[in-house]
């Protein structure tokens, strides 16, 4: 039988899915053990016990100077920046995207501008933001918003464009005004697409967050890993990377769940 027609059973699928993770874990353990056998003070591939001890300190023991739990205060401040930036991008993209996708005058006026603006590499805006709004929270939040909004805006405008013309004509034959069409036809159809766009925006949002924190910050997940990098503290960096990955994955899952629960009628093309 051809290999493309052979499907693994459910149990086997779970095992196959776990395999790469296990392989990575085992490779790490072998490498770590080998290095620690030569030099017990090796910092590059710390043992799991070492990482657990460090994380215990970061998560459960208040720091002597500030009295804060470093992991949680880092997480809190990073999440606040990420979520505020994304929320601003969501609002901008929804308002401007619907207007651009639905109203020909706005479309004619804004489309070239947004296209040009979205070509600016957001990181290059960071120094401008530092100069104009200073080094504190606003510059980081603005960077995330600027970095993700143009892409989400275009996704929303495209989403409006993709609504079959027939449905818009139909709404008009039912007597709908432009505003009523936005409220009853366009928004409901475009919101699930906005969630999809937000899920895609999570990755760049994290990149901008970590970069901004690495360059100028006094706290946050990105700040921490770039701070301890100076001491080769892989026992902090590796668990932090895993932790960030876990948060990103959870956010993605929650958005996917929201999409399925709130818009049961919506099926993205690829799942049809």
């Amino acid at each position: 039988m051809r290999i493309i027609n052979r499907h693994p059973s459910r149990g086997l699928s779970v095992f196959l899915a776990a395999l790469p993770f296990l392989a990575l874990l085992i490779a790490y353990i072998i490498g770590s053990n080998a290095r620690l056998a030569i030099n017990p003070a090796d910092k590059i591939l710390p043992s799991f016990a070492q990482m657990a001890a460090t994380m215990h300190e970061y998560a459960l023991v208040p720091e002597k100077r500030s009295g804060e739990y470093i992991l949680w205060s880092d997480t809190l401040i990073s999440m606040w920046r990420l979520c505020t930036g994304l929320a601003i991008a969501v609002v901008i993209s929804l308002v401007a995207g619907v207007a651009m996708g639905f109203i020909p005058w706005v479309k004619a006026m804004l489309t070239p501008f947004v296209e040009a603006f979205s070509l600016i590499p957001p990181i290059t805006v960071l120094p401008i933001l530092f100069i104009i709004v200073g080094l504190d929270e606003i510059s980081k939040i603005t960077l995330i918003a600027i970095g993700t909004a143009p892409f989400m805006l275009r996704a929303v405008a495209l989403g409006v464009d993709e609504i079959p013309k027939e449905l818009i004509v139909k709404a008009q034959t039912l007597g709908a005004s432009t505003w009523q069409m936005i409220v009853r036809v366009v928004l409901p159809q475009v919101l699930p697409k906005l969630i999809v766009a937000t899920r895609f925006a999570l990755i760049p949002a994290w990149i901008f967050l970590i970069s901004a924190e690495a360059i100028a910050a006094t706290g946050g997940l990105g700040y921490r890993i770039f701070l301890v990098r100076r001491f080769l503290a892989m026992d902090v960096i590796l668990p932090y990377v895993v932790w960030i990955t876990l948060i990103a994955w959870t956010m993605d899952m929650l958005l996917a769940l929201l999409q399925r629960r709130a818009f049961p009628w919506f099926q993205p093309e690829r799942t049809k």
Partner: protein
């Protein structure tokens, strides 16, 4: 009762002439079936009547007044595809017409007004044979049921003119004949004028009270661009069909559905 007049209507796209000097008077309450080969401009004619497109030359009159040049609640429509809102349930799809009329700002109703509208919508849903499916989304309906829903959605706004763009073209023969019966019932029991585009001649003669065929008069390659379609045949269907309430004797033999 609404009369429609096409007065020397031309439609051109750039250099391509699609319709050439179409003049047509549609009597109030008639059911006109437009037939013709693909690309003859029958859908273009319908779109102009809908207000989605404008004639290049000439004027369309509805009840003696020039046509409003954008779609409105005067003219209902059922397309072959994308006729119902995928994000609304069956009930929501029928209710929306009433909600839009009554609530300019939110497009939604609440309280007693909503209850009354719900009652009306459910009656309409039952009349098209979709009772029991009120809470389903359109994706869960068959093609025939979706078109029934589209009819209910259009009819609840009591349009003066109902426009049908190959509405039953994608349906299986058995289902199609059921929905033909429904269509005749709806036409019989209301005061609307119907214009239907179809490529199925037997459908045209079964439903229409008048069948009009559009065709290009000249088809040599060097002429095809500069000469558009004209009305090539205009046939009154016998025995003469007429919406029941016009002659008042219940001709047609269909039971009237309970339309509010």
């Amino acid at each position: 009762m609404t009369a429609v007049v096409f007065d020397k209507v031309w439609k051109e796209y750039g250099d391509q002439v699609v319709l050439e000097q179409v003049s047509l008077e549609i009597a109030p309450g008639s059911f006109v079936a437009l037939v013709g080969p693909s690309g003859c401009g029958k859908t273009t004619l319908l779109r102009m009547l809908l207000g989605e497109e404008r004639p290049t030359k000439g004027t369309i009159f509805v009840d003696g007044k020039p046509l409003v040049p954008e779609p409105n609640a005067e003219r209902g429509v059922v397309f072959q595809r994308y006729s119902v809102f995928p994000h609304l349930t069956v009930l929501g799809n029928v209710l929306i017409g009433l909600e839009l009329k009554a609530s300019p700002l939110r497009g939604r109703l609440s309280g007693a007004a909503r209850s009354a509208a719900l009652e009306k919508a459910k009656g309409m849903i039952a009349a098209v044979g979709l009772g029991g499916s009120e809470d389903k989304y359109p994706t869960a309906l068959s093609g025939g049921m979706q078109q029934r829903l589209a009819l209910a959605q259009a009819m609840i706004c009591k349009p003066k003119i109902l426009l049908l763009d190959e509405p039953f073209g994608a349906l299986d023969p058995g289902i199609r004949s059921d929905i033909h019966a429904l269509m005749l019932e709806l036409w019989n029991s209301s005061a609307m004028t119907v214009v239907m585009v179809t490529h199925d001649l037997s459908e045209a003669f079964r439903l229409g009270s008048r069948v009009i065929s559009l065709d290009r008069q000249r088809s040599r390659p060097e002429e095809i661009q500069r000469y558009g379609s004209k009305i090539s045949m205009d046939i009154d269907v016998w025995p003469r069909k007429q919406a029941r309430h016009i002659n008042g004797n219940g001709a047609g033999g269909h039971a009237a559905p309970a339309l509010a």
